[in-house]
Symmetry: C2
Subunit: 349 residues, 2 copies
Amino acid sequence: MAGLEKGLTYAHSGVDIDAGNRAVDLIRQIAQSTFRPEVLSNLGGFSGLFALDLTRYQKPVLVASTDGVGTKLKIAVLMNRHSSIGIDVVAMCVNDILVQGAEPLFFLDYLAMGKLAPEKVAAIVAGVAEGCRQAGCALLGGETAEMPGIYSPEEYDLAGFVVGIAERAKIINGSRIKPGDRIIGLPSSGLHSNGYSLARKVLLEEAGYQVDTYHHALGRTVGEEMLVPTRIYVSLILPLLEKTDFDILGMVNITGGALRENIPRILPPGCAVALKKQSWSIPPIFSLIQEIGRIKEAEMQRVFNLGLGFLLIVPNKEASALLSYFNRQKEKAYLVGEVIPGNKEVVFV
Amino acid sequence: MAGLEKGLTYAHSGVDIDAGNRAVDLIRQIAQSTFRPEVLSNLGGFSGLFALDLTRYQKPVLVASTDGVGTKLKIAVLMNRHSSIGIDVVAMCVNDILVQGAEPLFFLDYLAMGKLAPEKVAAIVAGVAEGCRQAGCALLGGETAEMPGIYSPEEYDLAGFVVGIAERAKIINGSRIKPGDRIIGLPSSGLHSNGYSLARKVLLEEAGYQVDTYHHALGRTVGEEMLVPTRIYVSLILPLLEKTDFDILGMVNITGGALRENIPRILPPGCAVALKKQSWSIPPIFSLIQEIGRIKEAEMQRVFNLGLGFLLIVPNKEASALLSYFNRQKEKAYLVGEVIPGNKEVVFV
């Protein structure tokens, strides 16, 4: 190869340090737009520094989670639209700590790609920053890695990591849930970031749709529907926890494993859940996938959120007041089921 | 396809939820071996909980970092040895927060693979847990994602996230460094986890070695040399910071960008660094790569650690006492250079 006459460089092996440095410069400005007063450092250092404000907590507990966005990435690549997938990765992480009652403090992202294109990196990280603003957390740092040979040139993976804080006595863990409690569901924005390997197989292979195929049942193209960002519930739920007296017994993020596998994660022994299928409307995208793929109902229920992205469990006597609360906030919310005696299973009635 | 008669399932799209659940069971046990008293949760919940012990800090600052292991992963895959790459990902993260004087508290890993093999996942995560034990931090959580179509079946990516804590007044940031200060270098264990795209190109393509080729200059096979885990400096450095009175002005983790690009990250204006090339011995793996690839010296210096994995900067008058300290700990350490007037450059003399 040509390079050998003058000796090999890192660039010959497919890694461009200068492109990496340009990306870091772009990222630094984007990240600063998310900073909270507690952030002590810029991104140039070896790590991110975040000063804890301890005046607000007696026994502070850090709450941490990591997640990716699965093969929703494939849709972003197919459409060459990279500005919202970062919202998804923030959503997947912050919703996981929100269910325990934690306030997100800061976020870090890991972005690995086959060929480092600084402008693509900037678009992706701008989405991460938008997600951080929606969640109220600082984008404290991140890693952008060029990994030729593991990712094809146009492919990438994106993972995130969030740290939040909660007062120990106020951590929500489901331990007081009992039969008779009610379950209130909040709408998802669409598929969120789970089930994409199956959704892609059904829509893009079995049905033969392209991402730019307009579908009348969706009212937009298949790709647009599949790329809708995962909803971030922080700005709706944190004020509920901090400024109202509702007795929130448990919260569930409908993530991988969907309705069937996530609800049991917070149920105490002796409890199960009955969800009323007619109590909320299943958005068209889910019916479309089920119909084309001839997917069994039970499989749909453990792969897709079916229109419910987040659940709250409250005592029976507080359920209607909580529904009214959401209504006053102009937010949709449904009474979707109740806790019943059982062995942590989810039944659909 | 066969599945269509009965309808599609998630497994048909290449995602096996049951394999994922088996992997989670294996991981849970491995992670528990790393827990510290502050850990409040098992891994089954939506997030990891870590109670802060605030009696030790007046103004606690959280210090966070994320990193991956680059294409060193390719070596693990080629050799089908997955038990130590997890040590690398912990090392890459904890060494980055250690340079600011932080004690690692907890770690989370993100593992994405083409085909989820629970036993391979368990081997990888066992390495992560070993790294966490070496660094004294808890493996608080993680994500294992099956992503067919982004990774080929045998490939995977591994990223990590660490959170540490430091007393605000004791954070080390290099701001007091001045010309005349001395630089002490600690040996690396080998290539660590940087420069692998170039190292693989040179050794496995140009030279035509296989991972199981024995090389006399290395005293082992090429693959064994390339898979040596990145050294974790926590157990050597934290006691130095906490139990001695040395005035550590700055520390440098020799990570991506190597000696040329990492040292300037902590230098204040008006300072540069002169490294004495003869003051430490460059291990054979680096000379081998340079020779075969005919790589220029300056390129080697910005891609590979050349045998120095971690640097400390101290006042001139403390340098020999610090060298004696490491000597008493039976640890190799070298006086490798000094701070000179300049504009943040690194010169080799």
